[in-house]
């Protein structure tokens, strides 16, 4: 397995830069000017309570929020007005909160559904190595999988495409601790291969072992940010933000 080639830009330049992002669902104003950036090769986590706007932020970056304004630059190019298929073709992939496993497709069909958009994605064997359950269940229909297997499939599915930015929305939600551990191990193995990961997660304890940097969101804005190394001195603040 050869390491993914990094883009020409250096690690200090952001792969994803979100500035002044606003979004609406009908009359409801969900994001009020979100600013953050993700550099190539990083694992960045968006933290915040329910309704803070984390999922909407990911949906905007994927071109799936119905009305959005501001700026989202991916690999130096503006993507705020692009439809989701064009954004995906540029190298962004989303594993949605509800997992989005297609019930009428087999596990293998689900895995092969997203087209390869660039070299550097994982092969089927590599995905099966990360998530051995999927190999055993490759002919099962997506709707017959357990929650943990669905989550593994949803993550495995976006690893094949060669997308450089993987956005994972609440990947541990509702899963048994052993599965949560397995998913954490898989994400850890992706990092040295040059994948950039933007994580939305409420399980702070789990995310703290994975992420390089954290952004805290509240009421549709980013209200604080700190690096993993700054965690110990910010724990009180973080507990106050998250209400834990």
């Amino acid at each position: 397995m050869s390491d993914r080639t990094m883009s020409d830009r250096t690690k200090s330049e952001p792969l994803l830069k979100v500035s002044g992002l606003q979004a609406w669902y009908g009359e409801s104003h969900a994001l009020h000017g979100v600013d953050f950036e993700v550099r190539a090769g990083e694992v960045v986590t968006l933290l915040g309570r329910n309704g803070a706007g984390k999922t909407t932020t990911l949906k905007c970056a994927m071109g799936m929020a119905p009305r959005r304004e501001g700026s989202i630059r991916f690999d130096g190019a503006e993507t705020i007005a692009l439809p989701s298929d064009k954004i995906a073709r540029r190298g962004v992939a989303l594993c949605p909160e509800e997992r989005g496993v297609f019930a009428s497709l087999t596990v293998l069909e689900n895995l092969l559904l997203p087209p390869k958009i660039a070299p550097g994605g994982l092969s089927l064997d590599e995905i099966y190595e990360l998530f051995p359950n999927l190999r055993e269940r490759s002919t099962s229909m997506g709707g017959k999988l357990s929650g943990g297997e669905q989550q593994m499939l949803a993550i495995g599915r976006i690893l094949r495409t060669g997308a450089r930015l993987l956005m994972l929305d609440e990947p541990t939600e509702g899963l048994a601790p052993i599965i949560v551990k397995q998913i954490g191990a898989a994400i850890r193995r992706l990092k040295p291969r040059g994948f950039t990961v933007l994580l939305v997660e409420q399980n702070f304890r789990w995310a703290s072992g994975l992420a390089d940097r954290f952004y805290v969101m509240e009421h549709g804005r980013v209200i604080d940010a700190f690096a993993a190394a700054e965690l110990p001195e910010n724990m009180d603040k973080l507990h106050a933000y998250l209400g834990v």
Partner: protein, 295 residues
């Protein structure tokens, strides 16, 4: 001739063959409707009109350009598919996310306009369309006479239906279409151009209707209202098979054609309503249809 249950075998098998042919058309039309409903969420009332346009394109090709049946079998569906794709791009696309009733009204209006234009141009009476030379005549099977063209219609329709089922259920393209049916927004976020797939699917669905129209031309003659007569029964077939179910549309199509044929033999007075009686019974017992998912 040996009578069977008091009916001559000639009459029994003759009606069964007619039923099977009707069933072949029901299957092809309801298959197209099922594919379109699955992808576009539109109950395509214009389906019968586009079936008629397919037959008229074949008739027009023959009488104006002397292009015969076999090329028409390809050209008419392709032409109608292009017309359908233009309709989808300019009109149906705007209905995305709206209630079913809007799609029904739009396509019902389109059907009336298309049929009206053809009635204005060609009158209400039928235009003859000869079967191809290769399929003239028939076979004496002893218990019945089997016209070659009718045998061809049954075999070819069945092959088209099974090919479509295979494409949708067993290929990667089919997997993409099934994914689109389930969650178009997410499918698009995987880098697949869903709007283009929807346009192509509508084109394919109405292309199937046009193909059925060309097949029907030598049997029923070419009339502006030939689709209007069929479409109500075809909708009943789709409901019985299960809205959006591919196998349901094919199975119910052939089965109901046969049931209709048998009813013509044993109780002709009920032949026109038997499909609707079955539809009511199925809706009462299994509202999602025989092959549909639970609703």
């Amino acid at each position: 001739m040996i009578p069977l249950l008091g009916i001559s075998t000639q009459a029994l098998f003759g009606q069964l063959l007619l039923g099977l042919i009707n069933g072949a058309f029901y299957a092809m039309l309801s298959l197209g409707l099922a594919v379109i409903f699955g992808m576009l969420n539109i109950v395509n009332f214009a389906h019968g009109a586009l079936y008629m346009v397919g037959a008229f394109v074949a008739w027009f090709l023959l009488n104006t350009f002397h292009i015969g049946y076999w090329p028409a079998l390809v050209l008419a569906p392709v032409g109608v598919a292009l017309l359908g794709m233009a309709l989808e791009r300019t009109m149906m696309k705007r209905l995305a996310g709206l209630d079913h009733i809007y799609g029904l009204l739009l396509t019902f209006g389109l059907a009336l306009i298309i049929q009206g234009v053809f009635q204005n141009l060609f009158g209400a009476s039928g235009q003859p369309y000869p079967p191809p030379d290769l399929l003239k005549g028939g076979f004496n099977l002893g218990f019945m006479y089997l016209p070659a063209y009718r045998a061809w219609v049954v075999v070819f329709s069945l092959a088209v239906c099974l090919f479509t089922w295979f494409m949708i259920e067993k290929t990667r393209l089919g997997a993409i279409l099934r994914a689109c049916t389930e969650n178009p927004e997410l499918t698009r976020a995987f880098g697949l151009n869903v709007p283009r797939l929807i346009t192509l699917t509508y084109g394919f669905g109405v292309g199937l209707a046009a193909l059925a129209g060309v097949l029907a031309a030598p049997i029923y003659q070419v009339r502006p209202l030939m689709g209007a007569d069929f479409i109500i029964v075809v909708f009943a077939v789709v409901v019985i098979g299960g809205m959006g179910s591919i196998l349901g549309a094919i199975g119910a199509g052939f089965l109901l054609g046969l049931v209709e044929g048998l009813t013509k033999v044993f109780y002709p007075q009920a032949a026109n309503v038997v499909v609707f009686v079955i539809m009511v019974a199925v809706l009462l017992v299994k509202p999602a249809g025989l092959f549909g998912k639970k609703i």
